[in-house]
Amino acid sequence: MTAASTPAIAPAPALLTAVFEAASEAMVLCATADDTVVLANEAARSLLPGMQPGGPVAAPLPADGADSFQTEHEGRRLYGMRRPVGDGHYAWYLRDRTESAALELERSRTAFLAEAGRRLSASLHVRRCVRTTVELAAAHLADAAMVVLPPHRRHSEWVRLLPGLPAEEGTLREPTLGEVPGLIEALGGFPPIPSRWLDPAQAPAWLVPAGFGPVGALLVIPLPGNAEPAGALILARCGPSAVFSTEDETLARMFAARAGAAISAATLYREQVDTAAVLQADLLPPELPQTDGFELSGSYQASSDALRVGGDFYDVFAPAGAGADTVIALGDVCGTGPEAAVLTGKVRQTLRALCLVRTEPAAMLTVLNEALLQSARQPRFVTMVVGSVRRTDHGRVRLDLASGGHPAPLVLRTDGRVEEVPTSGTLIGVLPRTVVRPATVELAPGELCLLYSDGLTEARGGPSGTEQFGEARLHQALAECRGMPGAATVDRIRQLVADWVRGGNSDDIAMLAVRAPSRTPLSLRGGGAPTPSPYVAAARRADRRPRNRS
């Protein structure tokens, strides 16, 4: 379709002026020659009341020939754009951005608080929460930020971030806290004192060291916590004209509420962890003593992900006096988790006492049975193996073992045979009378006796995911460990079972191995050793060189 030519119309000047006047956009038409205002419509006059036709183009319109500007004018945020219109004239188009600027500010504050929430919730560790707090505060609220924690034993810990420096940490003595205006009040849980009432000149030199300029404004805010303050946040702005506006103070308080919640949650968590650690300490597997004449190696794996203790246990009791044997024990309390762990603690303590009176393993189980029957609030039984270990002649080791309803210990012989120790007995803590059949084992050098809990053989996994690891596989695995040190043997079996269950949830697993050390390093490779290096020769010499030789 061909367009008909537009009829040439020339509207009257009055009509054009009326249209100009009625436009909602603020417009100012100016003459280029002398920079005078030719016309300013109503919208423009309301933004710039002083702008009159005939008058000069004056502030806030820039006089430097810039094409755009953005400025505060009479409490409004103005944005302007200049366009040439025809020969000899140009026009300013103005916009009032007051509201969108406020919106932007609000948005940035919301974004800051969201970021603060996200970062503060990441850790449950007090020090990290405090560091995050000063990092956020220094980035968004002030030039320098410092968190002071409530005094503990007359000392307060602090973390500070100064411009351009990494975070610093330290402690303050309680009396020095009073040197910062408002800090005692903030740590005492009083509402924050407005910044304008705090004299920055009174801030002590240690707060913001010289070189960062004089502190122009100071803000001290409590970090609210659980019924008592989690600490105080000190914010400082440098420079003589620095201030904290009311909006700044409000934002800082909103931030402090989030930081305080995070720090106090972390504090609570730390207290719980510390308490749990103290209570757990005696229930953890013991450090195995260095023994003369035989190697001891243990492994313990609690079924629970979070706990490190469970219903299985092992313990080793050093000889009670000259001529006495080392006593070893490994057992399994019915159940798992903390309840079972508490009972293992009682059993271990009872055994320790029984060791002191030098009882035979079988008699120990009988006494333990009576003790448990009398003390248990609810029936809980234990299966366990107790043994006394001593070295005999020619590097051999003798074990007297007694089992109370527990899987029989295994013995790995030098030729790779795996034997079950023929000891058996009834569960401990159920029947008033126990029957225990003890057994004695002799280990030749290189042979090993393994005590284990049924979590090992009953671990479910394998190709089908439901098959038990089983005794046959354990025997096979142990047989393959011929010639290996005790620790490596225990590690290997633990690893095989872990691979078997492939990360699946299993029961507690405990292992304790006693091994008679190989008499001489057995060359598995065969053949004579090549000429040893001077280092080996030196290391083997009895007269070792002194260590300070360089």
Partner: protein, 350 residues
Amino acid sequence: MTAPAGTLTPITAHLSDDYLQLVADGDEVGATELVGALLDDGVPAQRIIVDLIGGAQRRVGELWAANEWSVAREHAATAVGERALAAVAARTAVRPRRGRIALACVDGEWHGLPARMLAELLRLDGWRVDFLGASVPGRHLIVHLHQTGPDAVALSCMLPTRLPRAHAAITACRAAGLPVIAGGPGFGPGGRWAQRLGAHAWAATGEEAVTRLATDWPPRNVTDLPLPDGEAFIGDEEYTHLVRSRPQLIATAMDRLPEIYPPARDYDQAQAEATSEDMGHIADFLASALYVGEPDVFLDFITWTTAVLGSRGVPPTALRLGLTLIRDQLIDFPAATTMLDTALRTLPRT
């Protein structure tokens, strides 16, 4: 064993051979005495750890792969290596002057010695190191992080089959606001998969990790770091299916094996178990490859397995049969079948 080119090390080939002999004999006392004598002589602890203990450990791995050493002997040798390392640690005190770092092997990763060596190297470099050990469950790691508040986490992974669990650990560390440096060949050549899984840095060797951690590390604010591209695509549905149907997959493969390979009818229990374990490995590496979306995870495994089986006199036919039996059950899974087909093509003809 020669020193890496360009490194001046006092650990001579002769010395390395002597040490390997001690390790081979399971001679703990001899090995600890040897490193003690070297320390007395002023040899830097780092060189003893990396060149002597680490070098021997590499040789041990090679000897096992070449079927010259049994698994038991490899384990015994590793135990000696750990004792020697402990002896070096006991003799060298360094005042911590850097931050605190938590170091762990990924859940299911039992090769603890390389990580333990890194722990000592970092300690010698002035880090305060918490070594959490081999195969650290994710929950234990996170509990430790919240309780001790370290500055960074180092994760070791030697086998790519642990990558899904490594990913879980890395994600949890990121959520706790901590930067992660990944290490070990499990993360692929050049640490390719480490980045994909969200680690902030990667190091091939212990010494590289020390250098990397000494320069501009850890990053100040980790939660603001962007997640790597493609992280969102990790762990697709084929992976999920494969993991969930693993028992069935292996059982069916074992049932069908005698049809296409008659000698399997006469397998005793040990042989049958070893075979189904091998099928399990195929499934696990395939699953990992699908998880990170990298066929190389699977193909590298096939290359490696071919070599290991070869040194044990097992013909590639066995592997071919295993791959075919798995492939035939995964017809509806294009990514998995593509990987299996590629693998079958790379197998040497017999």
